[in-house]
Amino acid sequence: MTKREMSTKSLLLILVLPAVFIILIVILMPILFSFVISLNKATPRLGGINLKWRGLLNYYNFFFKNPEFWNSIKLTLYFTIVSLIIELILGTGVALVLNRKFFARSLVRALILIPWAVPTVVNARLWEWIYAGNNFGALNGFLKVLGLLAKDNNVVWLGFDTPFANVPLLGAFFNWMGVPRALNMIIIADTWKVMPLVVFLLLAGLQQIPKNLYEVGSIDGANSLQKFRSITYPYLKPIYLVILVLRTMELFRVFDIIYILMQYSIRVVGIYTYEVGMKFLKFGQGSALSFLVALFIMGFTLIYIKLFYKEEV
């Protein structure tokens, strides 16, 4: 190795060191500490903490002895999967529309991005006000003006009744899942904020497709669906994977919007973890739960990668 290469290498090392130091102090050490806590029964005392070793018992108990944990996983899976399906289908549709040439396209695109910039707390408050279950709620008012809701009927949108209770299969499904109406409405509110991100990622993918591919497709007599499957989809595949991974991460950990709107009454796993860890101050169990959440997300990611790259392997 020449002297020059040596000095280059040491300079690059100096460039990484501050960040590595910060990461060590504020990320890695706390996470390791958190993992150690998760192996203990940990209770706070003034100026410190009492630890009592339990090994993997915290994890074991959640997995095999705690129906509340599995209920929260069930709700979280519902929230994650339904949101993902809506975001992907609507997102693809909107992206395909906005990818065509039309009047004032760049202005429309700029406007579409705006909800994504709305802070989560503001988003929660905004939809709380739209869903207000009285005369002033915008959604109730809107439906009444359209004649879809009787004038003296006010729906409590963020309520706990089972949605579609009289629809045969659907009502039974929601009842069995324990999904209250409020959760469905929160999915809509959350989708409103995140859709722009999905749309823009897909648009970036659509722009990489050479236009003449579609012309070739037309000459071969392919219909729109066939063209989507054989031309568009292969280009969007890596982007779908990115969206799935990113969004699963955020959806599975959801906390802010549900906490602000419903406090502890819809126990998705994020809320449940917070309740165990910070409300009841059971630090050991709370930490164990948070690592379980990460494991679930990792499982999802591995499944996506397997599904998407099966044929190439």
């Binding site: 690059l12 460039l15 958190s34 705006i114 970036a204 906390f255 990460a294």
Partner: protein
């Protein structure tokens, strides 16, 4: 020659623009309602006003009350605004500076645990925030009891902007490294080699060639980091209490629970909290989109 336009084409064109209008309405109506609610007089907003969406006596007094020192609400609001701006900006600068240098070095040098490091950055992003909250809660508690014993009750980490900056750095830095890494992966190394043949040292190359070339990426990542910090809620909920450190999201969340649900006030605060991100996103729209795609697709 008169172009023959078939009815089928007209229907297709009209339904296409109809779709765009529906998309725009879905996007903008909730925001329009947020703004309209903020300029309604409170009494009119909660009166019987079916099908009546625009205030007959629009007022900006809810906005003004936040800035009027004689109103009770204003000191906490102004403190929250100041804290949010300071914490988000400082976090962004710290993360951008150290994060981009680290990302550059990670791309340009080979070392033994590189792959492990990149993968663990990924795993850390999958952990929920509460994983960090519990250890920090204990550590801060530990440090603060010592500090208070030594220096008296005024010196503490809890409920301080410095603590928030440390906490926000801890979840933003990894994100910044991740995105900037994607950016540097696409930057050809030949350019730097050429600069060094011209006699620039490696350090000069970094600051005179690499940084200016990555300006787009830095701007995009900076805006994203700022938005992340501006949006943060759960850490502020646990680690702040008073005007020392309370942030805007926490202030707005409290407005809804502590007092009566005065949605004129909540909406006005919401509109104000939206302004900095809106301005950033509209100005840097192109950069942000390219930043998001490069960080994620190249990962």
């Amino acid at each position: 020659m008169v172009k023959k336009v078939s009815t089928k084409k007209i229907i297709k064109g009209t339904s296409f623009y109809l779709l765009i209008i529906i998309i725009l309405l879905w996007t903008l109506l909730p925001l329009a309602w947020l703004f309209l609610s903020s300029i309604f007089p409170y009494k009119e907003l909660i009166s019987n006003r079916l099908g009546h969406w625009i205030p007959s006596h629009a007022t900006f007094k809810h906005y003004l009350s936040f800035f009027n020192p004689e109103e009770d609400i204003s000191s906490r609001f102004l403190a929250a605004m100041r804290n949010s701006l300071i914490v988000a900006s400082v976090t962004t600068i710290i993360c951008l500076f150290f994060g981009s240098l680290a990302a550059y070095a990670v791309v340009r040098i080979e070392f033994r645990f590189k792959k492990t490091m990149v993968l663990s950055l990924m795993f850390i992003r999958m952990l929920p925030t509460i994983t960090l909250i519990i250890p920090f809660f204990i550590i801060v508690n530990l440090i603060d009891t010592r500090l208070i014993n030594f220096f008296g009750a005024d010196v503490h980490l809890f409920d301080s902007r410095s603590l928030l900056i440390i906490l926000y750095t801890s979840f933003t830095l990894g994100f910044v490294i991740w995105i900037m890494r994607g950016f540097y992966l696409t930057m050809p190394e030949e350019l730097e080699d050429a600069a060094r043949i011209d006699g620039l040292t490696r350090l000069q190359t970094v600051f005179k060639i690499v940084m200016p070339l990555s300006a787009n990426g830095l701007v995009a990542t900076g805006v994203l980091a700022f938005l992340l910090a501006w949006d943060e809620f759960i850490l502020a909920l646990i680690f702040t209490r008073t005007e020392n450190a309370v942030t805007l999201p926490l202030f707005i969340a409290e407005l809804g629970s502590q007092y009566i649900h005065d949605f004129t006030q909540i909406s006005a605060a919401g509109v104000i909290a939206c302004l900095p991100p809106f301005i950033l996103v509209l100005i840097f729209q192109r950069f942000i989109v390219s930043g998001l795609t490069m960080g994620s697709v190249k990962g």
